[in-house]
Symmetry: D3
Subunit: 137 residues, 6 copies
């Protein structure tokens, strides 16, 4: 029985403002700089969802790719694509939408929708220079 | 005397909402779909500025690259990076910030700042799938 | 009135065999080498469709992007995606499916479906090294 | 003694049809959709081979890169490039050529050809969205 | 008879120092900054050679791709790959190896080797941000 | 408390010559081939620095990104960008500047500058085909 990892990529466009309610305005400005600008900015996010499981010898796959695509679409992309994360997405109304927090929230959304113990890693590319990675640890 | 083209890439992150004041809310919704969502969304834009001119036989360049970088930075990037285009950028307060309009506005900003007759083409990548191109025609 | 170009990218996966009915088997083998192997091979093709038209001052666009996407999907992608070009696509049953011929055929399909005089260029990437470009000339 | 990982990329073009002999035609159609179409389709595959070993303090390398390139070329690329996986490659005549199965088969081919215990990971990109990863587990 | 453009990509690695014999040391330093540092630096160059010609109705190609690859390899890549441009390449011993000058020199090398009137454009990517383009004008 | 990984990308251009003082000229030539050419060659290197730490629930980050960028810039990029590694960088005057050795040296530079226990992985892309990875093992 082979253990195989499968990575599936999706993309979405969203706006956000980095701002923590637990910091003062001055602290927010100092820590997040131009990412704290009042009216927000945005990104073309790239999401990689990596699952890990036993290779089914009958089918040659770890999981039905059509189902995986639909789960990523329904659990994550539909909730954030073409949205303002701070204003339109319940989880980020009081949680700072950093790439790190987004990776953790997306993990939770995906884990709920995927078959048990399949999810291995969530990689969220915010720009071509920044990637946040979460493995449920 | 050789004519050479030089393309210089820059990137910026911004949010926008596609919405034309000259259309009704229903028309905006119909034409722009989720790009019209009320609180906006955003992109990692890639801007390519292409100049065209005579190759200087003494230096081997068309234009001082440090100056070109600074002009792109000052004329375009500084005005739009980490901004909400509709709310923060004067030109787009009444002009719909489509990739097409952005390419035209950036051309105007660049043409004013560059030596006469050097600017050849502005390419604005909104996503990995959409590029607007303007040549001043 | 500004003239703006808009490039829209689509992708599809297909298999093909380079083989011209107008050449002998030996000529085919000599000219196309391993691309002539009997059972075919395949590619992840990238198609860029570039339209050119007047920027509508009311909407800020050249053409409704949703319509352009649908035309590319219906006119090209649906006919070739996950197909064997030589066996499954009428046009290539007797026409060698080179990147060059594909670009010309896709131009014809697109020109028929798009509003008159909008189509400017078809770029077909066969691999990361090879691109065929057709402008209807 | 430092442990260093080295990743080497190769590319090849092949066609395949997802179809398992252990499933009925209806099950194959349901599970693989258009990837099951009778005459096959194809991809530009990207293969990343990652080795892991001690850094040789005399040479500054983990393994002679020319040898690694030749092993990847001889063990994998020469067997699959410009081939129809289902018809031309012995291993996939009765094994469904999914990205997952391909990663496992390539691991076996590479492990046989590489010095003992060097191979760490095989990453096979089927499209820009799908990657199968195998670590010999 | 259709006119089709075909772009072929090649890569090479080289070092260079931007320095013009026609400028004083101070002028060189001012104009080229860190690119003028005494011991040079280097790049992974990407070269795109675009030819333009009539589509041969018998073969479905503009030019034998194997021949085009060999001409690019022999005329350009073999002369510059893994070389120090200023010290190892005759043309750049007295000519500043800017991307602009390289594009012009490569055009001359390619034009000599290619069938008459086929060469349309040379694109030389020095980094992901800088591209020099020459069309023989 | 969640453990999150954050990857930050930087780029630099440098020249080098693969040559080990501990090998004879013939051994160097045999092992490194054209990478051993006397006057060197160069690359556009891509450096990915991956840190791993606890997600701060107050700020939503693992580490101040502005500080991380500055550390990468000061500790690595400023020392190697637009340099000849063999001649201009103290560490590589007697150490062969292979991608493997560079990854180890960069790890040491970064570990000294970063808060304790944050550094997880250094990935150095020498070309689009070669990546050296070091995790401090």
């Amino acid at each position: 029985m082979s253990i195989v990892y499968l990575s599936r990529r999706a993309t979405f466009c969203a706006s956000h403002r980095l701002h923590s309610e637990k910091l003062s305005p001055a602290e927010n400005k100092k820590l997040f700089g131009k990412c704290n600008s009042a009216n927000g900015h945005g990104h073309n996010y790239i999401l990689e969802v990596i699952i890990c499981g036993q290779l089914n010898p009958k089918t040659g796959i770890v999981m039905d790719l059509t189902k995986l695509k639909k789960i990523i679409e329904d659990s994550v992309v539909a909730r954030v694509d073409h949205k303002n994360l701070n204003l339109d997405v319940r989880e980020f109304k009081s949680l700072n939408p950093t790439a790190e927090n987004m990776a953790v929230v997306f993990w939770e959304w995906l884990e709920e929708a995927l078959p048990k113990d399949l999810l291995y890693e969530v990689r969220l590319h915010e720009t071509e220079n920044n990637i946040a990675i979460y493995r449920g640890e």
